[in-house]
Each structure stands twice: as structure tokens, then as C-alpha cells.
């Protein structure tokens, strides 16, 4: 009977592999140097003599990753790697759910109100604060708090693909979250490695969350219908083909060419230094941004910041909100224009 059933594991699978998976899951992500340390610690423990992390090659690390991947695949987990858009583009490996949307990913252990809030937060990041004019894909605390309760206006407006699904967030029973609950949720999302909080106070999706959710983001926020216009909410780097939530954009507003800062040098080298958009041939300025710099590079924002202490003072917060509000209005006008044009 079931006592005799043995779960399938890869050939030669052993406790060292199990320790590697445990450690990987606890960390969520690994860089190669972290992987070297981890594998060295495991081999030191199993072999009984100290193994130098520097002696762990890419091949050895890749072997552990491959075995782990094989072991967890039947359970719908996966290990994938990507380069961090910040921090010098370091490659990171992430332990992820193979079929992930934020609801199933985070719903297991969170209340329905929290799940609904996370969905609203995703809408803020990839719809409301990700417009043709302003691809911020990040929110500050004040903006995150404004989504604490469901807003009828927003939810009647559907992003591609949602209409048939009957989103739970629209049910009348969702009373939303208190501000204190939002702050607590945000802090735990940061602690669990789903969100990152920047120096300027913006929340955005972490590299790990992007590795896990980029395909869901495309399915949810991009419009692949034939009538769709060129501009799409989720775009990819011209050089490395991975998602861009922090990088540079073509200065031609409707052009979809995007480039990571970390890919820039290599990319222009392949273009023999000709800094023009490969699609529309507009001069590449390097100061049109995707990500929080879409706001922080603006004069209004920098004026607001001028002369202030670089802390978390409430004074700076309101300046920031003002600057953002001004930009949002501009963006909203812009959207209306676009609608009229279409």
C-alpha cells in the first residue's frame, strides 16, 4: 500500500543534495559566490575536511543546481537564473514556483484581503504607475497606502486578460486593509524578498519576484490582440531580452526599445558605438528612464528634495508626493490624448 510507495528522486540523490535544497529555499536566491560558500560548507560537512569556497567551480555549483532542479521539477518548482538589473548585473539563481501568479504564489499563507491588496499593488506597479509617459513600475509608501482599500474606479477599468477571470478583489466583501496592515504587509514582502525598497523610498519587484512572475506579468498586463498598439506595459531589454523594470528607454515616446543600464556598454559595442535606437533610429539619450528614475530624475522631484536632509523625514515625503502627483496628472492627460488618437 502507500507505505511501499517511494517518491522519485534523481539518481545518486543524497543528503548533500537535500541540504543544498534546504539552504537554497531558505535563502530564496543564490549568487555564485554564495553558492560557492554553501557548496563548500556542505562538502566540508560530508567529507569531514575543510573545503575552500574558492575551489568550488562553476561546474560543481551547476551540478548541484541541476540535481536540485531535477528533484523539485515534479513538484512544480524550478530553479532559474537571471541578472540583477541593479548591483552590477550580478547573476542570481532563484528557487521559484514553476507556474506562478501572485495570487497562487502568495495566497497560501495570506488573508484574502492581503491577496487582494497585493493584486492592487501589482496594478499600481504595472498599470497605474506604468504609462506611456511614465514607466515608473515602482511606488512610494504614500502611493502604496492609497491602494489600501479597493477603488471602484480602478477596478472597473480592466487590464488585458482579466475580464473573464472574475477577480476576487472586486467582491463587495473586500473591505481592504488598514494603513498599519499595509505597512506590515509591505515590510514582510520586503523581508521575504518579493519587494525591494530603494534609497529614495520606492517599492518595486525584486529580481527573485521578476524571475518568478515575468511571464504572468506579460500575460496580465500586455495586450496581444491584433488591434493593440505598439506600446506594451511589460517590455524586454534589447540586449539580453530579459524584463526591464529599471533601465533606459528610447526617447521616442511610443517606441518600445528598452535597455538595461547593465547591458548598455556591451550593447553599444555591438553597434560600433552608434548610440541610436535600433528600431526608430532616434538618438539614444541615456536619460530617459524606466523605473523610479522616471520620477527621481525629474526637476520637480529634485527641487522638492533640494536642501533637505537625506532621511525619512515627513517633509521629504510630501515633496515627493507632490512631484509624483504632478507627473501623474501629466501622464493621465497623456493617456487621454492617446485614447482620443486611437
Amino acid at each position: 500500500m502507500e507505505e511501499e510507495w517511494e517518491p522519485p528522486v534523481p539518481a545518486g540523490y543524497n543528503d548533500a543534495n537535500r541540504a543544498f535544497i534546504q539552504a537554497f529555499m531558505a535563502r530564496g536566491t543564490l549568487t555564485f559566490p554564495e553558492g560557492q560558500k554553501l557548496v563548500a560548507a556542505i562538502l566540508s560537512a560530508t567529507e569531514g575536511e575543510t573545503v575552500d569556497p574558492q575551489s568550488i567551480t562553476q561546474d560543481t555549483f551547476a551540478g548541484f543546481v541541476r540535481t536540485a532542479r531535477e528533484a523539485v521539477e515534479p513538484l512544480d518548482y524550478d530553479i532559474r537564473s537571471s541578472r540583477d538589473q541593479l548591483r552590477n548585473g550580478e547573476r542570481i539563481w532563484a528557487f521559484i514556483n514553476a507556474h506562478s501568479d501572485p495570487a497562487t504564489q502568495m495566497a497560501t499563507t495570506r488573508s484574502p484581503e492581503e491577496v487582494a491588496y497585493i493584486k492592487r499593488l501589482m496594478d499600481l506597479l504595472f498599470d497605474e504607475y506604468n504609462t506611456v509617459r511614465m514607466e515608473v513600475m515602482a511606488v512610494d509608501e504614500g502611493q502604496a497606502l492609497k491602494a489600501s482599500r479597493p477603488s471602484k474606479r480602478r477596478e472597473s477599468q480592466h487590464v488585458n486578460g482579466e475580464d473573464e477571470e472574475g477577480q476576487p478583489s472586486t467582491t463587495a466583501s473586500d473591505r481592504g486593509l488598514k494603513h498599519s496592515e499595509v505597512l506590515s504587509l509591505l515590510s514582510s514582502l520586503v523581508a521575504e524578498g518579493w519587494l525591494e525598497k530603494s534609497r529614495a523610498g520606492f517599492y518595486s519587484l525584486s529580481p527573485r519576484a521578476l524571475i518568478e512572475m515575468w511571464s504572468w506579468l506579460v500575460a496580465t498586463y500586455n495586450d496581444d490582440s491584433p488591434s493593440a498598439r505598439d506600446w506594451q506595459r511589460i517590455k524586454f531589454c534589447e540586449s539580453c531580452k530579459e524584463i526591464v523594470t529599471y533601465g533606459q528607454r528610447c526617447s521616442e515616446r511610443d517606441c518600445t526599445v528598452r535597455l538595461h543600464d547593465i547591458c548598455e556598454d556591451r550593447y553599444w559595442r555591438t553597434r560600433r558605438g552608434e548610440k541610436k535606437c535600433p528600431k526608430c533610429e532616434t538618438e539614444w539619450t541615456g536619460n530617459h528612464f524606466v523605473g523610479e528614475r522616471a520620477i527621481t530624475s525629474r526637476q520637480a522631484y529634485q527641487r522638492g528634495r533640494g536642501g533637505r536632509a537625506n532621511g525619512n523625514g515627513s517633509g521629504r515625503r510630501s515633496d515627493l508626493e507632490e512631484a509624483v502627483a504632478a507627473q501623474q496628472e501629466a501622464a493621465a492627460d497623456d493617456d487621454d490624448e492617446d485614447m482620443a488618437e486611437a
Binding site: P8, A23, A26, R27, K37, L38, V190, A191
Partner: protein, 334 residues
Amino acid sequence: MPPTQRQRRQAAESDEDEDVHQRLDSPADDGNSEVDHMHGVERGETSQLIKKLVRYALACEYSRTPIRRDGIKERVLGIHGREFKKVFAGAQKQLRATFGMEMVELPTKDRSLLTVEQKRKATKSQSQKEPTSNSYMLVSVLPEHLRVSDIIAPSKVQSADGEAAYIGLYTMLIAIITLSGGELSDPRLRRYLTRLNAAENMPSSNPNNENAPSEKTELVLQRMTKQGYLVRVADNKNAGDDDAITWHVGPRGKVEVDNEAIAAVVREVYGGGRPNEDLERKLQASLKVKERKPPRSAAADRAPATIQEDEEEEDAEGNDEPEPGPSTRRGRRG
């Protein structure tokens, strides 16, 4: 428990799992033939439920929420509620085989939520069997040498330092609460936090991140409460009175931070790490811990809570706190 209509609905909904059947029937899982003999639900369906439970258990552990029996029934089993035993056993096997982990039952939380008077009564009848909590957490079942801190321990998602600081703080708070008789009034907790220089802020999950090196103490306490390290009890009768709020050790706290770990903290903080007979006597009186043995090589520079041994012996002596086992994070085992 299982009315017949349940089986009918089950049959009606089984085609949802069609794609999964195919995947599970792939040549990779040759050990599956025995499952054919399972009765009640189809073999692929059982495997599917086992997979769901494994994923549920790992998701709970990831956010340090308890794996509840009710949650398993609601989120994993659905209409297959009566398959609990079989699916649970299968999930345990899968967890051990793939991850080197298993689910252990958490101690019941009820006691820490009782009023002082009820608690006194409960303490008198210590010998009576602990009621079941119907909640579980994941612990490592790997051999001791693979549960050391540089493999498993403090290095969660954001930073090893943040995780270490977090573990240090809840271990300290749990030690203080336990040594205060299992509960602590809110003002006293605040005084201790002030002494720990943590009244307003605590290190964040990534103290090396210059943008957010610290976090509001209230948020960290909330997280500790949510994750089951602490329990905050508000006595409604004296609403408005600060003393009405008391702090207790939560179920996860009891499993992860046992009496030996608490003793280690106390030795570290009050004994300066040196042998101290007076302190040892007090520790034995209040925690029933073993007398301290000569320090082992690795123990000294590790997080105090990882110092641990002889749990089996303690259990055998009738320690009334169940000590089901180790934490995946801290690499211990019961």
C-alpha cells in the same frame, strides 16, 4: 465523515486533473506502480494531493506560518477530506526524500492564551496529556553535520545579518518571557526593549542596506506574532489599561527556541560566557535544563540558540513541553 455524495462530486471534478495525470504517468516516476493499489481515489489523484500538500507545507514554512490541519483540508484536500491520513503520510515521505524535512506537530497554543488564573490551574495538572494543536511546522531531518548554521541557518532572503539579528531578538524576547514565568506585561516588555536599545527600531531584514537599516519595532513585533514566535494577549476587561496586554511565547517559538536555547542566551548575556554556578542553579530551577557541559568547539562562536543537546533524554524524563524537533533554519533536531 464521508457522505456518499462526496464521492460523486469527486468523480465529477476529477477530469480537472487530466493534465497532471499525464505528467505523473511519465517514465520518470517508476516507483509509482504500488500506488495503483490505493483505494478510494485514483492513483494520479493521490499523487496530485500529495504534491499539493508538499507545496502547501513549504509555502507555509517559507512565511513561517503554521501548517494547519484545517488549512490542509481547505486548501489541499477539498472534497477529498477523508484522504487526510494517506495524503499526509505520502507528503511526509516526499518531504523527507526530496527535501530532508518533515512536518512535526506544534505544541498547543491554548495554554499561553489562558488567563493567569486558568494558567495556574493548568500548571498544577502538568502531567495531563497536552491537547493536540492540529498545527505543524517543517523541520530538518538531515544528520547533525548537515544542519550546522553555515549551511542552513541565518541567511534568509535578504541578508544573513538581518536574519541573525531577527533570530537573536526573538530568542532574547522568548528567553525573557519564559524566565518571567511564561508571560510578560506590555510595559515590562517595553522596558526590556529599551534596555536592548530596541524600543523604537530594530535592525531590518537587511541591516546592510543603507536605505533601510532599521525597521519600526512595532512592525517587527507584529511579524514575530504573526509567525508564532510571540503571542500578544489583550484582556478586554481592563481595556485602556496598559497592563491588560501581556506577551507569551507562541507555538513556533516553543519549537524553535527551547529551554536549552534560552539557557544559552542567559549564559551569554548574564554569565559573560563564563561558568557561573549560581546562574546554573537558577537556570536548572526555572528551565529544568541540563547543567552546562564544557563548551564544545563550534558552539562558542555560533548563535546561542544553536547550542543544543540531549533533548531525547529530557523528553524521556517527562518534560511536559513537547519538543518535536529542529527547525530547518537553525539546524537542530530533537
